[in-house]
Amino acid sequence: MANTPLQENDPEQVDLNARKSPNTVGSRFRRHKVAVGSLVIIAFLGLIAIFAPIVAMQDPYTVDLDSIRQPPSADHILGTDSAGRDMWARMVYGARISMSVGFVANVISISIGVLIGTVSGYVGGRVDNILMRFTELVMNFPTFFAILMLVALLGPNIINVMVVIGVLGWEGLARLLRAQVLSLREQAFVEAARCIGTPHYRIVFRHILPNLQPYILVAATLGVAGTILTESALSFLGLGVQIPQASWGSMLNSAQSLTVLTNSPWLWLPPGIAISVAVLAMNFVGDGLRDAFDPRMEV
């Protein structure tokens, strides 16, 4: 061959590539200092949740009626609640429950969203039509109101809270992914795969899903933030995690009484701050991820 289309051994070319600053998603994310800091905070909260029995130092369920609503002291670094339980231990175990509810509920809604979005976009036709009408129906449910009612009717406990929040929170992602799949399906590499007879499941798993990854990742991060908020609101209203189990939201429940609100700030300030920090960190990470993938992404 006379002409050399690929100059792999050209020294200048290699040099250029070597000097090029890394512009991967990871490096763009790392440049986002706030997002990186937030990721550290989330990892820290996650570790506390995992090692709760060690970090808590005391039992979160031991009722001690001789020392109720004690302000912070050496024995109880965050004081005690209305039944004399150690607040620090409850905060730590609360991290476990709040974060696992956020995580599990989100896994449920992401799974449903990915399934419906991909099937609807890839299969198209009548299936698409039916699935999208169904999605519209769920989308038009007054969400918080519906969650509230369902949890109350099914019985407020941690499992029901996870399931109900998860089952009612996938519409946005499903619609977003469907739109993406619709355009991916027409792209040359998918057409090529189809031409050489690749089976559909393989096209979906090898060609479509990997391209949806950024959307799913950003939606999942922002989704966890939203789910933690919803769970805390439910538990705050007394319709979520039930006493003696503690979630950050249910710990704030007692502050609905003005006496507690006025006289015992240590009962409601720490869990409130914990929720805010966790949600804020999740939102920062989500924003950072979106900017790293594509700032114009509409998740």
Binding site: T143, F236, N283
Partner: protein, 320 residues
């Protein structure tokens, strides 16, 4: 335009039917029995009497029949009767509606004005400390739970500083100020907290909308022909950047409605949100169904309003 609206209304009907049917079925199969909620647990009640009570309330018919009956009654303006007080549901809702509308209206107006203003400010001062602070404000408002903010506000402004009342819509004291002022005084804390989430959303949307529009050629043209900066910003940029905001405001109405449940409970505001919580704890199904219906209609109505306003505001998307 008229055909477009009519079409959209027709499409909304199956959605309302679907939402109410699903809610109705869930309520019907859910554990917990309104009969049990009605009777005094201290007194023994014979099985025959229990059955008669169920019969009277129509609880032993199949779900679909009961739904059809409910729907038929609804068409005649009868939302059923509260299991708890025996009052007509429609009357109970009508009594509570104005309080919720007042709260939502305040939040809507406040967040539209403030959110749009802040968004424009952030866009005009892009990459300055103002822009940075406003972005931070928006993220904080979205992330901090409204009930925690409400607790903080109650603690600081109502209990410690004593600037605002802690609960209710108006004072009962004899020396209370004139009704309207008194009412507004009660409205400030819950109204502002309810509005924060929407304000934050609007600030972010308005900022990116303005930035996009300010980069358009017609803005450059307007500047090139020597228009004053204010008339470029207000007359050319703002008008076009406002378009997507219409959609955001109307589509967020249902979220605002959800927010009233928490805010009304915390500030003991006598509206529908607080009634919903009471109805849930009392298993007052007819009231819950009535509220679901109102909420579903509200959602669909806001979607429809969003589309129509958009079509009116933007001549490029006139629907047939």
């Amino acid at each position: 335009m008229a055909t477009y609206i009519a079409n959209r209304l027709l499409l909304a009907i199956p959605l309302v039917l679907g939402i109410t049917l699903i809610t109705f079925s869930f309520i019907s199969v859910a554990p917990g029995d309104p009969v049990m909620a009605m009777i005094n647990p201290e007194e023994e009640m014979s099985a025959a009497n229990l059955d008669r009570l169920k019969e009277e309330l129509g609880l032993n018919k199949p779900i679909i029949v009961r739904y059809a009956i409910w729907l038929g009654q609804l068409a005649r303006g009868n939302f059923g009767y509260s299991y708890h007080t025996g009052e007509p549901v429609l009357r109970r809702i009508a009594v509570r509606l104005p309080a919720t509308l007042e709260l939502m209206g305040f939040a809507l107006v406040a967040s539209s004005v403030i959110g749009i203003g802040l968004g424009v400010l952030a866009a005009l001062k892009q990459y300055t400390i103002w822009d940075y602070l406003l972005t931070l404000f928006a993220l904080f408002s979205i992330s901090i739970p409204s009930f925690f903010l409400a607790l903080l506000a109650l603690y600081v402004f109502a209990l410690k500083l004593g600037w605002f009342p802690t609960f209710g819509m108006r004072s009962v004291a004899f020396d209370a100020p004139p009704a309207l002022l008194d009412n507004l005084h009660h409205l400030v804390l819950p109204g502002v907290i309810l509005s924060l989430d929407l304000t934050a959303g609007l600030t972010r949307y308005m900022r990116s909308g303005m930035l996009e529009v300010l980069g358009q050629e017609y803005v450059t043209t307007a500047r090139a022909k020597g228009l004053k900066e204010t008339s470029v910003v207000v007359g050319h940029a703002l008008r076009n950047a406002l378009l997507p905001v219409i959609t955001i405001v109307t589509l967020r109405l249902p979220i605002l409605f959800g927010g009233t449940v928490i805010i009304e409970t915390m500030f003991q505001w006598p509206g529908m949100g607080r009634m919903a919580i009471q109805a849930i704890s009392q298993r007052d199904y007819p009231v819950l169904m009535g509220l679901t219906f109102i909420a579903a209609v509200l959602v669909l109505f806001s979607n429809l309003t969003a589309d129509i306003l958009y079509a009116v505001a933007d001549p490029r998307i006139r629907h047939g």
